[in-house]
């Protein structure tokens, strides 16, 4: 089966752990699922594996080549104006079509009683992303320090967040998770690589290739905060969103989720198809053979994503909600924390964009930053974020900003010491961690837990989860960067010492 086989192997290893964890919880009778739920969950796991493998294959064949080509074509014009305008338009285009953002915008419109309209949210967030992608391009070409741009953007975020109501923070940080969807992340990663490719041979490391996704996330936050500052709110209504009752049906449920995912999948792939068409009318159009390859890749991407999302929504999400609710209902706080820890740790492995990012890191650094290490630190980071989320649900007095503020202070301090390459990797993984698996399975788990806990607010506590999942990888991956730096330095010293010893030995003989 060639390449598909390869992907299936890789993906099975990623999806199995979380599947086994839920099965263990089921069979140890901690959280017994009904038969229908169990069957749906197992079918969902199979959908996840096949869908994710197909999707990743499609990313390799379709999304990555388009991203690289558009970055490279823009840079080859040799005109800064065109490159920057191109960056803005690409960032805007891909964000406007992001289905997760549309869902978030609907929710925000509902909760703010229409003070923030659906399209207003989408437009402000998209413009924010476009602008920051533009700065990411500027940084690559003018060789600006990523550290500086990050300090400036997070400074703006801090400043803006003083002027908006507290509950709005959760929306803003959630927007950063919503804009970095399954298709957006691979495209932006490839875009950054394609743009920085032209000077890859003068660089000591791949620092220029990373950081664009991270900046795009910051752009989304800034965009929504600006809108928040411009609007005035009376009050938020925490109306409960009506959950559909599932019952014991299996196939009809999968079918309904399939249709829904098909629409979203097609929508999120639209920008890439548009970009491909634009490339084809320019001078640097691709050959027919390459176009066919990319088109097949995009088709894989879409079908893979649709199958994956169907499995997640029909199989994993209900199971997650049930498990979360039952664990919280048992009355042992530590149980919820321990389960949250493991669910966070294992779920992240099945996140589509995580595979893309870790692979790109390994390719661009030629193995100097191994995939395994990135995964270990990312897993650790996410598991801690779920523990924090559980604490927040259990302790009503613990506000989101009580966690976010000190953590972001730590992050900013770490950023000062982390090597540029790892700053990019860390901020990118923040955007990557808050992908579709988090937004569905983990969120459902947290909501389930919140619904069974007194004093917890299902909607507002739910919103904070994404913000935390997007934050902890920044700490974890920057710590990895520091460790890596120390290691490499020690190695250099050791090498020099050894060579010097060998030299003196030669001279004496």
């Amino acid at each position: 089966m060639g390449a598909l086989n390869e992907k299936l192997k890789e993906v099975t290893m990623a999806v199995l752990p979380v599947t086994v964890l839920v099965l263990i919880l089921h069979f140890t009778a901690l959280t017994p699922l009904t038969n229908a739920e169990l069957i749906r969950f197992l079918i969902g796991a199979a959908f996840l594996i096949f869908g994710l493998a197909l999707f990743l294959l499609g990313v390799d064949l379709g999304a990555t080549p388009i991203g690289k080509a558009s970055g490279y074509i823009l840079v080859r014009t040799n005109k800064l104006g065109i490159v920057l305008a191109g960056g803005f338009i690409l960032g805007l285009l891909i964000t406007v079509a992001e289905p997760d953002l549309a869902i978030l915008a609907d929710q925000i419109a509902l909760i703010t009683r229409g003070v923030l309209g659906r399209w207003q949210v989408i437009i402000f967030v998209s413009v924010g992303v476009g602008l920051l992608v533009m700065f990411a391009f500027l940084r690559i070409i003018k060789r600006l320090s990523l550290r500086l741009i990050i300090y400036i953007s997070y400074g703006i975020i801090l400043l803006l967040s003083i002027f908006v109501p507290q509950a709005f923070h959760a929306f803003a940080f959630d927007a950063s998770g919503a804009t970095t969807g399954a298709i957006t992340v691979p495209f932006m990663l490839a875009l950054a690589i394609g743009t920085s490719r032209y000077r890859a041979h003068q660089e000591k490391d791949a620092a220029a290739s990373f950081g664009m996704v991270g900046l795009a996330s910051a752009g989304a936050i800034i965009g929504l905060l600006v809108k928040g500052v411009l609007s005035s709110f009376a009050d938020f209504s925490a109306e409960h969103i009506v959950e559909t009752v599932v019952g014991d049906q299996i196939l009809p449920f999968f079918w309904r989720e399939f249709l829904h995912s098909a629409y979203e999948g097609a929508l999120s792939l639209m920008p890439l198809a548009v970009v491909l068409l634009i490339i084809q009318v320019t001078k640097s159009r691709l050959r027919m053979r390459a176009v066919i390859r990319v088109a097949i890749g995009l088709a894989y991407c879409m079908f893979g994503l649709v199958i994956f999302m169907t499995g997640v929504k029909a199989g994993f999400m209900p199971a997650g909600q049930k498990v979360g609710g039952m664990l919280a209902g048992m009355g042992y706080d530590w149980l919820l924390i321990v389960a949250g820890f493991f669910i966070g740790m294992l779920t992240i492995l099945a996140e589509p964009a995580v595979h893309v990012l870790t692979k790109q890191i390994e390719l661009e650094t030629a193995g100097n930053v191994p995939r395994r290490l990135v995964l270990i630190f990312l897993s650790a980071g996410v598991s801690i974020s779920i523990v924090l989320s559980m604490l927040r649900i259990m302790i009503p007095g613990l506000k989101l900003w009580h966690i976010l503020l000190p953590c972001y202070v730590i992050i900013m301090i770490l950023t000062h010491f982390t090597p540029e390459l790892f700053i990019g990797i860390a901020y990118d993984s923040g955007g990557v961690a808050s992908g579709p698996m988090t937004a569905t399975f983990i969120l459902a788990f947290a909501k389930g837990a919140a619904s069974q806990t007194d004093g917890a607010d299902v909607i507002l506590d739910g919103f904070g989860v994404i913000a935390l999942v997007a934050m902890t990888p920044l700490i974890a991956l920057q710590l990895l960067g520091l460790l890596h730096k120390v290691r490499m330095r020690r190695l250099e010293k050791k090498q020099l010492a050894r060579l010097a010893a060998a030299d003196s030995e030669k001279e004496t003989t």
Binding site: H201, Q202, A366, G367, L373, A502
Partner: protein
């Protein structure tokens, strides 16, 4: 001694540009750069039991026999390959060569 040689140079990441420039100055018409990673003998160093390999670049330059020595030694000197840890250069004898611009 054949009519053509391929010079393979393995250097740390970021040096390929310099190698190409030296080769160009000494008459070579072009070359190809391959990103790769290297592991030395005692250099094995790990973080959490995962090996961290160093980033390298492999450069392939095909030269006619009368130029090989000059290009090879110029690169050797300019990048101080004789100094420990700077890189490695080797030449392969080629049989069939097509497409080399003179």
């Amino acid at each position: 001694m054949n009519a053509f040689q391929a010079i393979l140079i393995i250097v740390g990441r970021g040096s390929a540009d310099r190698v190409m420039q030296i080769a160009h100055e000494n008459g070579a018409k072009g070359g190809t750069i391959v990103p790769c990673r290297g592991t030395g003998h005692h250099d094995s160093h790990e973080l959490l039991y995962t090996a961290l390999d160093s980033e390298r670049e492999l450069i392939v330059i095909v030269t006619p026999g009368d130029l090989t020595k000059q290009v090879a030694y110029a690169i050797n000197e300019a990048l101080a390959l004789d100094e420990p840890g700077n890189g490695l250069l080797m030449t392969l004898e080629l049989d069939e060569v097509k497409g080399l611009l003179m």
